[in-house]
Symmetry: C2
Subunit: 568 residues, 2 copies
Amino acid sequence: MKYETYKKLAGATLGKVKADLVFKNCKVVDVFTGEIVESAIAVKDGIILGVSKSYRGKKEIDLKGAYIAPGFIDAHLHLESTMVAPAELVATAAASGTTTFIVDPHEACNVSGADGINYILNQTEKSPANVFVMLPSCVPATNIDDNGCMFAANDMYPFIGNPRILGLGEVMDDDAVINGDPRMFAKFALFDHLVIDGHAPFLPNRMLSAYKMAGVDTDHEASSFEYALEEVRRGIHVHIREGSAAHNVDDIVSGIVRTGIDTEHFSFCTDDKHIEDILRDGHIVYNIRRSVELGLDPFKAIKMATINSAKCYGLKHLGAISPGYQADLVIFDNMKDFNIIDVYFKGKRIDRNAEIKVRKCPSSLKHTVNIGKVGPEDFALPIRSSVTHVIGMEPKQIVTNDIIEHFHKTDNFVPHDGYLKIAAVERHKNSGKIGVAVTKGYGIRGGAIASSVSHDSHNIIVIGDNDEDIAIAVNEIARVQGGYTVVENGKVFETLPLPIMGLMTDVHFKEVNEKLKVMKDKAYEMGVSDHFDPFITLSFMALTVIPELRVTPRGLYRISHSGAGFIK
Amino acid sequence: MKYETYKKLAGATLGKVKADLVFKNCKVVDVFTGEIVESAIAVKDGIILGVSKSYRGKKEIDLKGAYIAPGFIDAHLHLESTMVAPAELVATAAASGTTTFIVDPHEACNVSGADGINYILNQTEKSPANVFVMLPSCVPATNIDDNGCMFAANDMYPFIGNPRILGLGEVMDDDAVINGDPRMFAKFALFDHLVIDGHAPFLPNRMLSAYKMAGVDTDHEASSFEYALEEVRRGIHVHIREGSAAHNVDDIVSGIVRTGIDTEHFSFCTDDKHIEDILRDGHIVYNIRRSVELGLDPFKAIKMATINSAKCYGLKHLGAISPGYQADLVIFDNMKDFNIIDVYFKGKRIDRNAEIKVRKCPSSLKHTVNIGKVGPEDFALPIRSSVTHVIGMEPKQIVTNDIIEHFHKTDNFVPHDGYLKIAAVERHKNSGKIGVAVTKGYGIRGGAIASSVSHDSHNIIVIGDNDEDIAIAVNEIARVQGGYTVVENGKVFETLPLPIMGLMTDVHFKEVNEKLKVMKDKAYEMGVSDHFDPFITLSFMALTVIPELRVTPRGLYRISHSGAGFIK
C-alpha cells in the first residue's frame, strides 16, 4: 500500500478513530479459509480496514445476520456483443453482484483498432465496477478477413503498463500458437508477465499440451467436464461459462461434484450475456446459484466467482474481504438461493434505480460504415458451373452445411423455393468487395434483412430473396452508419441504429429492446424460421473459423477438417 | 514461452519427435486437480512437455508404479545460519527433494550489505536447485544496532528486475510498518508488484490487520493454529515452519485437520535447518510426512510444499507437473512414508554422492573482522550503583530475565559463583565499542568462549569468567577473521574458523562437524550447562528484539512490554 494511503487509513484500522462505515452483525464469507465468520467489517475511503466486532463507524449498518461476500468477478466477457452501451451493461450486472469485469474488446478492435479499446476503457471508467481489459490477440481473426484494423504486437505496446490491462485476450488462432507463428509469439512475449487467455474448444491431448506450453493460462471454451479436466490437469485455469448462448455450468460442475477434484483452478464467466437475461436471472450469481443446485459446496462456488479469478489475473486487491482490499461487497440472504440484498462498490451502495450515464462517443467511432451506394446489380450471382455450393443453415446452430445443388446456368441466380441470396459487403475501407452466395434454411420471403454486426470483421451481412431489397437494406445500414434493418417489398420496414462502431446503440436498453421485438416479429412474419434469432444467426454467417460454408466479401469460403479455402 | 524455446520443444510435445526423457509407468501427483494420474511424463531440455502415455523418449525410465510429484519448495529459509557454505546446504537438501529455496540473506547483508547478497546469489547459481532471494528488509535490525552495512530502499533498487529476486524479505520491524515509517514504505513501494514477507509472531487483532493492510503478504512466525488462522483470515499466506529450532507443524496442522479449513494459503518452510537434521529426517519432505501423520490429506500436504508456494511467489514455471514447467521432480514410494527414491532438477537426476563444488569466496568477504588488539583492561566492568542488572540465561530458551543483584561497588567486577562476564565487541568498523555486562546461568569456569555469529549485527560475542581469557578469545576470533573459539586457562583450546563474513565455513560440513563436536564437549566439560548449545545460545545474547536483557557494543539493553532502552 502507498505510504499516503496507509497514513490515511491506519488510525481507523487500529481502532483509534472511527471507520467511515461498519457492517455489523454479518456472516462474512471468508474465501481464504472457507469459513463463515460472524463479525463486523470496517471500511474507509472504499478500502476494507479489517474484520472485527470491535470496529465502530461513523455510519453503521446492521445486516441482521445476512451473508456478505466479496463482489463477484466475471472472468471473461465481451461488452460489445450485447448491443447496449458498455456502461449500461456493466451497471446492470453490477447491481446483481458482479463488481469486476474482465473484458475482451475483440469486436470493437476489429472495427476500430486501438480506438475501439480506448472507447471501452473510457466508457467504463466511472462505472460502479472494476472493468479490466484483455488486449485482443487475433485481429484480424484470420489472414483472409477484411476487417477495420490490424492489431499487431506493435499496436499493443502502448497499452503495456496500463493497470487496467491484464493481459492478452482469447487466443483463437490455435494454429498460430501450435505451429509457432512468430507474430503470435511476439504478442506472447509482451504479456509473458501477465495473463494470456486461451480459446481452445477442442484441441486433442498433445496439441492442448503444446498450446499450454506456449504460454496460454486460461480457457473459457470447455463445454464438457472431461475436456475441462484435461485442461486443468495441464494447469490451464478454466472459466466455466454460463451466458445467453453457451451453458457450460451443468456439465462441468456436475463432473466436479461427481469426482471431487480440486476447484482452485476454476472460475466463472458469462462470455456474452444479454441484458434481459441479466435482469431475469442475475449475472455471475446465476453461475453460483446453479452450481450449488448441482451439489457444489457453496464456498467453492463463491471462490470460483471471487478469489480464484482475482488470483488468476493477479488482482491482489480484489476478490476477498481482507485488510487493504477494495470494499466491493455483495450482501445476500442465504447460501442456497443467493438472493441479492445489496451490492457495494468501493464502499458505496449501488443504487439499482440510479440513472445510468453513458458518456458521449467520439464522432469517429460513429462513422465506421464506409461504402459507396450499392444497386441491385452489385448482388448479381452468375451460375457458371453445373455444381453450386449452398450454405445450409441448420436450426439452432451456427455451424452450416455444404449443400451441393445443380442449378441451371444463368447470369444471375434468382432466389426461389427457399434458396436465398446472402452477401457480405466490405464496409471498412470502401474496397467495393462484395461476396454473394446461395443459402437455404433461413426462410425470408418478400424482402431482406441486413446487419453491420457480423463476426469477427463486422462487415455488412445481408440476406434476402431479391436483389432490390438486398441493395436497399445495405444502403440503409450505410445511411444509419450501422445497425439492423428489415426491408419488405422495396421499403425499409424498420431500422435499429447501432451507430457505435456499427455494434452498439447509444440509447438505453429499453428503447432498443422494444424496437428489436417489433423487427423480430416482422422477420418471423416474413417467413424467417423460428429456429433462428433473425439477427444473431445472421451475425455468424461470415465467421470463417466455424465449419462448413461462410460468405465473406471475397466470396464463398469452406472450412472443413481437411482444410479451408475459397470456392472458385 | 519464448519463441526460440517453443520451436525447440514443440515437435517433441506434439509427439512428432522423441522426447529426451520419458518417465513411464508412474503415478503422477496432479497438484491442480488433486488426483493421481497413472501416466507418463515427457521431458526435453529440462522442461516438461506433457503428461501422456503416448510419449516416447530417447531415454525411458520405468518407475514401476512409483509416485512422482513436483520438486518441493522451501518457502523461507536462511542459508547462512547453518555454518556450511550455501552450495553445500542446498545440494544436501535438494537430494532429499527440495528443489526450490526462497532464501533471505539477512545475516550476510548485515555483515556485508549488497556484497553479501551477491555472494549468496553467486554461490548458488550452479546448485542443483532454484535459489531465489528475498531482499533483507531490516538491515540494520534496529536503529541502535552496530552492524556492518546499511541496506535501505536505495540499495535495493539495483536488484529490482533480477529474476532471482522475488520480493522483500521478512519484515521484522513491525513497529515501522504499523506506525507508518516512510523509510519502510519506500521499501514496500519498490516491491509492490512482488511479494513482501512478514515476520509477526504476536501481533494482536487490529495491529495484525494494519500490518497486512500495509502490504505484507506472508508470515512464517505463526507457532499456534489459532494465530495462523487469524493470519490466513486476513489473507496472509502462512508458511508452516519446521526446522532445527522451531517446530510449528504439529500445532498448526493439527488445527487444520480439526477444523477442515481450506489450505491453499498455507505453505511449508524450514527457516533454519541444520545439515545433520536434513541428513537424518530430510528437508521439506519432513514437513509433508509429519503433516500426513497428523491426518492431513497427502495431496494438501504436497500442495503446501509445491504449487501453493509457487503461486504465492509468482513462480509460474515451478510447483507442478505441467507442459512448460521446469522438470523438477521427486520420486517416492508411497503417500504415507514419502521415502525419496530419486530427485530430478531440470530433468537431470541429482546424484547424492556427487562432490559438492563450493565456489571461491571473494577475498573482501573473508576479511570482515575489523578490530584492534584488545586486552583484559578492555573488559573492565566497574560497579558504581547498588543495583546491578544481570542477564539471566534460561534453560533451553533465548528469552532472558532481568535479575537484580546488589554487588559491592568496585572498579572491575570479578566473576564469581556463576556470575560471568559477557561482552559484545563491535567488529565491523573498528569503532572500539565494547559493551560488558554480568550474566548468570551459562556456567563456564576457567576460560571463555567467543563467536562472530551473533544476531542480527554479528559483532563478536564473548562470555567467560576472567578478563584475560575473554581478551584472548576475542583476539583469536580477529586472527581467524571470524568463527567460534574456546579458550581455557590462558590458551586457545580450539577454534573453528568461519571466515566467510564470520558466519560460514569454506570447508565441508563433515570436517566442521567433527571439530565442533570436540569444542562443544570441551565447553560442557568446562561447566557450560547442558541446557544450552554453547554457541547457538550465545548467538542470541546481543539480539535486541527479544526480551528482556541483551548486551550490545553500546552497553546493556532492556526490552520489555513497556518499552526498550539502554540501562545506564
